[in-house]
Amino acid sequence: MASKTPVTAVASVERLVLSGVSKTWEPEAGPVLDRVDIALGAGALVALIGSNGAGKTTLLRIAAGLIGPDEGRVRLDGFDPFSDRREFQQRLGYLSAGQGGLYARISITGHLEYWARIAFVPRASRRNAIEGAIERFQLRDIASRRVDRLSTGQRQRARLAMAFLHDPTLVLLDEPQSSLDEEGIHVLNDVLAQYVDAGGTAVCCSPRGENIDSPSYVLDLHDGRLTRQ
């Protein structure tokens, strides 16, 4: 059953709010998102599922402010992704699907330093933030290695480390388990558990929601509408 009221997390403070979000890529195929409403609170861990092409990535991209909806609005801690772009992006961690977003000839540490700077991590706390990300995702032994000399699973951990590095209030992770081995999935789940315990909000997207430990709830995207399971 498609939800007619916002799909709301248990926590009282609304962190991520999507109101009436619609998006159509090809008019003849109908909307990929049809008036989607979401309100997620602090400390929520949400598994977003749906079949291939259901619109999960589009939903995440809109929630991240990467692309705009045809209709509706997005707010993160009250900030608009376009008119309050800087404040919005400082609070967001985003992991795109696939293996992109890395520079082949730069090391993991180099990537984290680069990201810390463009994410406006204050100079005084930058070193700790980078070291913390390396520790959390167990990248110590490979931190100085160039990305093109890493396995795809190791690259995925580096990408995840970037998503969490700047201490965002919301992380949107598109297929975060992709290419991770059992240990990597365990590391990811540990990080997610600590993150939501500390009040962070996380949305993990994958076709079946597998490998995400104890989500607060599961949202199923089907025919452009969200259903809470």
Binding site: L66, I67, F82, R85, R86, Y103, R105, I106, G110, I118
Partner: protein, 270 residues
């Protein structure tokens, strides 16, 4: 952290990133320098072959083209390189991180010009030193140091064109052919390799209506003493006005292009 400082720090982050990628290719700097030096040698021998009435002193045409080569390198490093870099980042998915950062797409694209611009300046200094030491080019030592700050001001005016073209890449995805055409056209009407007075009168207004010609003329005057046709202050004012007017306009246009591509959902397409 102060917002302006945060932006400056982020720009340094991009500079450091580009430097890391550059030095990871060990022979890149050497090949870039060798390319510039071979061009100097080529123009030296061409200048021995031809006699141009406009240049009275021996070697004047050689000095004229050496400065043209250096500024062409700066022009290429901004106007021509940037669109290709933006497209490369779009294809690699790395531009997405820039868009989804507090630094943002517009500042990110502008900061992408810093490293190639500085490299062009370094290459330019080595090129001129080579022309002086090996081919005996007469450098005007007393005014030559002023060419560095002037190159920065000229670079700001050039940057405006680069931002406009980068905006076209964001919207249309493919702007390389246009960039190649524009680069050749600017070198034709800008007086990079011959005085604009040799151009047909009906097109000479174009040489006066852009920042490249006055930048070149001033730099030539400062570096090798090529006489100026008008006041140096008027030429400098032209360059500064171009930068003041066009740079914010170009930044706004690029911002509009980014937002428009985000609204339509094509920002991450390539």
């Amino acid at each position: 952290m102060n917002v302006a400082l945060a932006y400056a720090d982020a720009a340094l982050g991009l500079l450091k990133r580009d430097a890391r990628v550059f030095v990871s290719y060990r022979l890149r700097f050497l090949s870039q320098i060798l390319g510039a030096l071979f061009s100097v040698a080529l123009f030296y021998y061409i200048s021995r072959l031809v006699r141009v009435g406009t240049f009275r002193a021996p070697g004047a045409y050689f000095a004229y083209t050496v400065v043209g080569l250096v500024i062409l390198e700066v022009l290429v490093s901004t106007v021509s390189v940037l669109p290709g870099r933006v497209r490369q980042e779009l294809v690699a998915g790395t531009f997405e991180k820039v868009i989804l950062s507090p630094f943002g797409a517009v500042a990110g694209i502008a900061a992408m010009t810093i490293f190639p611009f500085l490299m062009a300046l370094v290459t330019g200094v080595i090129t001129i030193a080579f022309a002086v030491v090996v081919f005996g080019m007469n450098l005007r030592w007393q005014t030559a140091p002023l060419s560095i700050p002037l190159a920065f001001v000229g670079g700001l005016a050039f940057l405006a064109f680069a931002l406009l073209i980068a905006g076209a890449v964001i919207v249309f995805k493919q702007a390389q052919a246009g960039v190649g055409f524009l680069g050749t056209f600017i070198s034709l009407i800008g007086g990079f390799f011959f005085p604009v007075a040799l151009l047909p009168p009906w097109i000479q207004w174009l040489s006066r209506a852009q920042p490249f010609t006055p930048t070149l003329q001033l730099l030539r005057n400062l570096l090798v003493g090529t006489p100026l046709q008008g006041s140096p202050w008027v030429a400098l004012l032209k360059i500064i006005l171009w930068a003041i007017v066009l740079l914010p306009t170009a930044a706004l246009a690029l911002g509009y292009a980014v937002r428009s591509a985000q609204r339509r959902g094509t920002i991450i397409e390539y």
